[in-house]
Every structure is written in structure tokens, then in C-alpha cells.
């Protein structure tokens, strides 16, 4: 994981107390597209499981992630895909 991916991970850990967190760099799939940079690290997928999402709709969950990463999204990251689950949802999906 590069510097940007590491920064995303650190920011989410600090802000959202995740029980599970995966930050996946998908920039290679978008090389040459709009928003891609030669040094990469522009497109990410975040899979995050945290009890903070309980009782929140998808829109509100994504907002929490977007807000935690606001600075990076504004200046460095072109695209962010988000999968946002509560611990209960994550364990029922894993079954």
C-alpha cells in the first residue's frame, strides 16, 4: 500500500473505530482514465465494518466515510468506492 492508501487507512481508523477495514487500491484498473495520475493512488475501494453505522442509512454511513476523508478526497483521491457495514451485517454476509 502506498502513502495515500496508508493515509486513508489511518484516517478511517482514527475517525470511525472500525472492527474491520480494508483499503484496496484500484488505480491500476483506471490507468489512463480521467483523474488517473502517473504516480497512481487515485482510485480506492474501502470496505469498512464499524458499530458506528448501526441505525444509520447508507447515505449517512457514506457521509461519515466521506467526511473522515474530506481532505484527501478534495486534493488527491479521484474516486472512492465504499462498502459500509455494521458488525451484524458483516457476520450475516460472511455466513
Amino acid at each position: 500500500m502506498g502513502l495515500v492508501g496508508t493515509a486513508i487507512e489511518a484516517q478511517l481508523r482514527a475517525s470511525l473505530a472500525p472492527a474491520q477495514l480494508q483499503v484496496i487500491d484500484q488505480s491500476a484498473q483506471h490507468a489512463g482514465h480521467a483523474g488517473a495520475r502517473d504516480d497512481g493512488e487515485t482510485h480506492f475501494l474501502v470496505e469498512i465494518v464499524t458499530p458506528l453505522f448501526e441505525g444509520k442509512r447508507r447515505l449517512e454511513r457514506h457521509r461519515l466515510v466521506n467526511e473522515a476523508l474530506a481532505e484527501l478526497l478534495r486534493n488527491r483521491v479521484h474516486a472512492l468506492s465504499i462498502r459500509a457495514l455494521t458488525p451484524a451485517e458483516a457476520s450475516s454476509q460472511a455466513r
Binding site: H33, R58, L59, N66, L73, A79, S81
Partner: protein, 114 residues
């Protein structure tokens, strides 16, 4: 600070049509994979939607980020309410929630026939 003028335009747009997609490019020529995927999902539901190309309108683009407190595109509005971006629309389609939402809000999903 965003002027009220662009917020007024947005309000008018999301009230005029039941389903509004703010996207990069157009449904026929989407300029971004996430916008393309969202158009495709909406197509599967058979819903009629109005789209706006935010790449051609910087004022609208910046206004929408602030209006909906949402930093990215595409953005889907149904009956004046922000539903979300590509991931949310896709997940809602897969779980059947999107069609349930259209029914609940009384949105016509027979665009292909009309």
C-alpha cells in the same frame, strides 16, 4: 460561499422531475465508469430519469456538492431527495430496495413502454 441562485436552480431541477441523475457525461456518452454503471442500473429498473452533465456546468457541479453535502458524482435524486452515488444505487438495486423506493414514492417504472 455558494450563491442562492445555483441552489434555486437545483431545487427547481429536482422538483421538476421525479428522478434526476447528475452525472459526468450523458447516458449515451458517459464520461466516467461510475456514471455509466448508474445509468445502466436505472435502465434495468425501467425508470424514466432526467440527467444533467455536470462536466459542462462548473457552477452546478460545485453547487451540488454543497447542496447535498455529498462530494462526488454521480448523484441520484428521487422526488427531491438525495439517494446517493453509484455504490448506494447499485446495492439498493441488488437488494430490491431501489424498486421498492420507486414504488413507495409513486415513480413510474415503465419508461421502456411509454
Amino acid at each position: 460561499m455558494m450563491t442562492n441562485a445555483v441552489f434555486d436552480r437545483i431545487k427547481e431541477q429536482i422538483e421538476r422531475d421525479d428522478v434526476v441523475l447528475y452525472m459526468k457525461g450523458t447516458p449515451v456518452f458517459p464520461m466516467c465508469g461510475f456514471s455509466a454503471a448508474t445509468v445502466q442500473v436505472l435502465g434495468q429498473t425501467g425508470v424514466k430519469f432526467q440527467s444533467y452533465n455536470i462536466l459542462e456546468d462548473m457552477e452546478l457541479r460545485n453547487g451540488l456538492k454543497e447542496f447535498g453535502n455529498w462530494p462526488t458524482f454521480p448523484q441520484l435524486y428521487v422526488k427531491g431527495e438525495l439517494i446517493g452515488g453509484c455504490d448506494i444505487v447499485r446495492e439498493m438495486y441488488e437488494t430490491g430496495e431501489l424498486e421498492a423506493l420507486f414504488q413507495e414514492k409513486g415513480v413510474n417504472t415503465n419508461a421502456a413502454v411509454a
